[in-house]
């Protein structure tokens, strides 16, 4: 066998090993109920903001503290703590992906990804607004 072939095989094996190791780092998308079962494990929660519960953010007291309640499609809810500024348009978002872990019944959030209607420009809601404004 040629040296080149050996090197090719070694490198391909390394690439596969890297990908296998990567699968160990992967996380999962969860609902609130299943996230609660996996307390302490890093998960991605797909939920939305519970509009009926208060959103706590006061830049005067602490610009790095946000708390709100998330609710998912199954109707479960959990209180979320986020140590950063409040993302703009959070109230308008239809869907939020929360990255973090459940700890003592609270969701300690590390990162928030908002899905706003603006992303879905062809959303009929934009048109409904147009109608109501007339």
């Amino acid at each position: 066998m040629k040296t080149t072939h050996i090197i090719i095989l070694v490198l391909i094996a390394a690439a596969i090993a890297v990908l296998v190791q990567y699968t160990g780092d992967l996380t999962t998308y969860e609902t609130i109920a299943s996230a609660k079962e996996k307390e302490g494990k890093f998960v991605n929660l797909i939920a939305k903001l519970d509009q009926h519960k208060p959103v706590e953010y006061d830049a005067v007291k602490n610009p790095n503290y946000l708390s709100f309640t998330a609710i998912d499609t199954l109707g479960n809810s959990i209180k979320v703590i986020y140590h950063d500024n409040k993302p703009t348009d959070m109230e308008k978002s239809e869907r939020i992906v929360l990255k973090g872990r459940v700890k003592d019944g609270l969701f300690e959030c590390k990162d928030i990804l908002l899905k706003c209607p603006s992303k879905y420009k062809d959303d009929p809601k934009a048109m409904q607004q147009l109608q109501t404004s007339n």
């Binding site: 080149t4 992967l26 990255k99 700890k103 590390k110 934009a126 048109m127 109608q131």
Partner: protein, 817 residues
């Protein structure tokens, strides 16, 4: 029904040309294909002529599509859905072009336009490869054109027309009224992230890069069809061109991300970024194996493979970003417009025939059985190409988890720290590639005498070590977050990337003896090395300046808490208007804000004063109100550029003091050592000072001043000192109130009630809103300029080698003719 006020003609013209370009590209494909199958020039000629005419019609159609859509957008014809969803009346002229790339339709048009331009260059210069390359390009054009026709075939819709009418696309009761247009006063506007100068130039360059990858692919495909491998010479400058332009396009996107901080830096391993980086990596691999084959006869098979896979990955990247599949993992992908099947077909229709043909021809593609020498350039160049390709495969595999989820119904999400998941692997790729970039040029093709090689490489090796060791020791590379192993890898990578810069600079003298004409590759490699150095140093040393330690927040971060789930808490700092806040290196003050009606932005003036007194400057970050019926705003950072670092500041939120202050002072009696309560805690009067030196700045020399020393303790346990006072000059009494902003508390020293018993009167006011405030983040990025300079040098090097290759090809062309 007859609708009032609609302009239907432009749309009809546009739609006509969309269909015309669809038909013309199909005709061009057939004609050029026929031409390529004929061996005698006389037989070719009529087909070539037909192909060129069809290609001309197609080019004209594509240009006119642009003109018509531009007319619709610039005239604000909101009866067209494209104008309604992607523009509004207040949009500045310079951003009208950006409307083209906000929508998928416009980005397809851009792609198609560049194919036309490239096609004409091949028709002009391509010689015997004209027909072979052109039918591949025309076929791609046919697919892109099909995305823009928006016609139903057998009940299923093909493409989306950029000239669709709003009333046909949306279901709403107002469309039942003939005068509906009167109610649509304005469009929903261009996404504010795209209202940035980088976003005017980045997409055209990037799409030129995307479009240009079809040329090496088309050469390879035509070569396989004819079983003729002489295309490897004309393909070289094209591959170099594609590398240069795609690289520039990607890095312009990085510059935009950096300037707008929309990814929190210039690179975030976002799927959208990865999807365009990976074809670049495989293309660079192909460029190198192409060179190997031309100079040594090795590596033709991998060259075919790399060129095929690069274009396939471009198609895959367009599928990833346009199908909406990245919805949950990327912040910047398009949304699904129902083109997924078409996009998928676009990939397969190019990939499958190319791969089938590749395997059929595999045996007949020339290759050398004898093994490469270890001391040969081709051996290490091939290893480098292979590493680049595998690195690309690892990146794209990780990026494709959403596709996996879709296929198998799994719920896999990216890891907790997705950036590190890439970094920890790619850092070793940098080590290997840096090393190979440094040494490979010192090896000759075929074989190199060992002693000569080691003698020549010795000097640059020593210089590189001399440069790297001080950086490692005193450069403060202290990225300990991810453990000592990763830190060691960073140091190693810094060495190899410095090595690649130094070795390639030295090679200009040692190898080329100053022959600048032939220096393209070395210059490009110097640039590439600088890019690596810039990335390593700037990424491992980004610092947060607005680390919140000012005491404005009651939740002080203790040492133990730093590792909490929030990651890096307290990056936001609150600034109250006109109150200087200590931010470590600087005293920062939010002094004023203004609204600019032209660009609809609200600018905040932030005054920075260095605590060592060296400098003072103002920065003007702004926020722009969201359009599309949204309430919020988007922040644009402002930056101060130094030669060795950049300071970025951006506003994360702001609050205005609305309405007048209706709360009045309540007067309270107090004695020294008394405790008073307020709504959120208590305050203790410690003592009364006459002309206290600490407060000297607040009263004049000829005044007599009395100041109270009060400690305020909030419920959260936070302590504040507050010094209200009075100043007396003759009969004139002046009150000097003091505030605890974060407690919304104002104290005023009214008067002395009874001197003998020490009774005083103070006024206490708890205001609802004391002042305007903003929260902001401030970052410092060091040494980023090395990265930008590196890109420029790399592109200059690639252009040099394109010029050299084109000249060489001309010469050899003359010889054979």
């Amino acid at each position: 029904m007859n609708y009032i006020g609609e302009h239907l003609l432009p749309g009809q013209i546009g739609h006509f040309f969309a269909i015309l370009s669809f038909m013309a590209s199909l005709l061009a494909t057939i004609a050029f294909f026929k031409a390529s199958r004929k061996n005698i020039p006389a037989d070719q000629e009529p087909w070539l002529k037909l192909g060129r005419i069809a290609f001309l019609i197609e080019t004209i159609s594509v240009v006119l599509l642009f003109v018509v859509l531009y007319y619709i957008i610039s005239n604000h014809l909101f009866e067209y859905k494209y104008a309604y969803t992607h523009s509004d009346k207040s949009l500045q002229i310079e951003y009208l072009l950006s409307c083209f790339w906000e929508g998928q339709e416009g980005s397809f048009m851009l792609w198609s336009f560049w194919h036309c331009v490239l096609g004409w260059i091949i028709i002009w210069k391509g010689g015997k490869w004209e027909s072979g390359v052109l039918y591949v390009i025309s076929f791609a054009q046919f697919f892109i054109a099909s995305m823009l026709i928006g016609i139903y075939f057998f009940g299923s819709k093909v493409g989306i027309s950029p000239f669709a009418l709003l009333r046909n696309e949306m279901d709403a009761p107002i469309f039942s009224r003939p005068e509906y247009l009167q109610f649509i006063k304005d469009g929903t506007g261009l996404n504010i992230l795209l209202q940035n100068y980088w976003m005017v130039i980045h997409p055209p360059i990037l799409f030129l890069g995307f479009a240009s990858t079809i040329v090496p692919f088309a050469y390879a495909f035509a070569g396989l069809m004819k079983n003729d491998h002489s295309w490897i010479k004309p393909s070289l400058p094209w591959a170099a061109f594609s590398t240069a332009i795609l690289g520039t396009g990607i890095m312009m996107g990085a510059a935009w991300a950096y300037e707008s901080l929309s990814f929190g830096g210039y690179w975030a391993w976002d799927p959208v970024e990865n999807a365009s980086l990976v074809p670049w990596l495989t293309l660079v691999a192909g460029l190198h194996t192409n060179l190997i084959y031309k100079n040594s006869g090795y590596s033709l098979r991998p060259t075919y493979f790399f060129y095929i896979i690069s274009f396939t990955l471009i198609l895959y990247s367009s599928f990833l970003t346009k199908s909406g599949i990245l919805g949950d993992t990327s912040v910047h992908a398009f949304t699904d417009l129902g083109l997924n099947a078409q996009l998928l077909l676009f990939i397969l229709v190019f990939f499958i025939p190319a791969m089938v043909l590749y395997f059929i021809r595999y045996k007949s593609i020339p290759s050398i059985q004898k093994e490469e020498q270890t001391y040969s350039r081709e051996f290490w160049m091939f290893i480098g190409s292979l590493v680049l390709f595998l690195s690309g495969m690892v990146i794209i595999a990780k990026t494709s988890t959403p596709v996996w989820n879709k296929l198998f119904g799994t719920k896999i999400a990216p890891p907790e720290d997705p950036e590190f998941a890439h970094n920890q692997i790619q850092i070793f790729v940098v080590v290997i590639i840096g090393l190979l970039t440094a040494i490979t040029q010192y090896l000759k093709y075929k074989d190199t005498p060992k002693s000569v090689f080691w003698k020549k490489i010795a000097i640059p090796t020593v210089i590189a070590l001399l440069i790297t060791i001080p950086i490692s020791i005193w450069g403060d590379i202290s990225y300990v977050k991810k453990g000592p192993g990763f830190l060691a890898a960073i140091h190693l990578a810094i060495f190899t990337s410095v090595y690649s810069v130094v070795a390639n600079i030295s090679y200009l003298w040692l190898g080329l003896k100053g022959k600048i004409k032939a220096a393209g590759a070395s210059v490009a490699h110097i640039g590439f090395g600088l890019v690596l150095v810039g990335i390593l140093i700037s990424s491992s040393k980004k610092t947060v300046l607005s680390w919140n330690t000012t005491g404005v927040t009651p939740l002080k971060v203790t040492e133990g808490e730093k590792g909490n789930a929030a990651g890096s808490p307290a990056e936001n700092l609150t600034l109250f208007k006109n109150i200087a806040t200590d931010m470590g290196k600087y005293m920062v003050t939010y002094t004023m804000d203004t609204t600019n009606p032209r660009d609809r932005k609200r600018y905040f003036e932030i005054d920075f004063k260095a605590n060592n007194g060296d400098e003072r400057f103002q920065l003007y970050p702004d926020v722009i109100k969201n359009n599309k019926g949204m309430d919020g705003f988007a922040a644009n950072p402002a930056s101060k550029h130094y030669w060795n670092k950049d300071i970025f500041v951006y506003v994360t939120s702001f609050q205005e003091n609305k309405g007048s202050d209706t709360v009045s002072f309540k007067n309270r009696e107090v004695k020294v050592k008394d405790t008073l309560f307020y709504s959120n805690g208590l305050m203790i009067l410690n003592n009364v000072g006459v002309n206290p030196p600490a407060q000297q700045s607040k009263f004049k020399q000829d005044e007599t001043a009395l100041f109270l020393d009060i400690t305020v303790i909030s419920k959260e346990g936070k302590q504040y000192k507050i010094y209200p006072g009075i100043a007396l000059k003759g009969q004139e009494l002046r009150s000097i109130p003091d505030t605890v902003i974060s407690q919304s508390l104002i104290l005023k020293f009214n008067k002395v009630l009874d001197q003998s018993s020490g009774k005083l009167e103070i006024g206490v006011k708890e205001s609802e809103s004391i002042t305007d405030l903003i929260t902001l983040k401030v970052y410092e990025f060091p040494m980023i300029n090395i990265l930008w300079i590196g890109i420029v040098v790399m592109v200059v090097g690639l252009v040099m080698s394109i010029i050299q290759r084109v000249k060489l090809n001309k010469k050899t062309g003359l010889k054979t003719a």
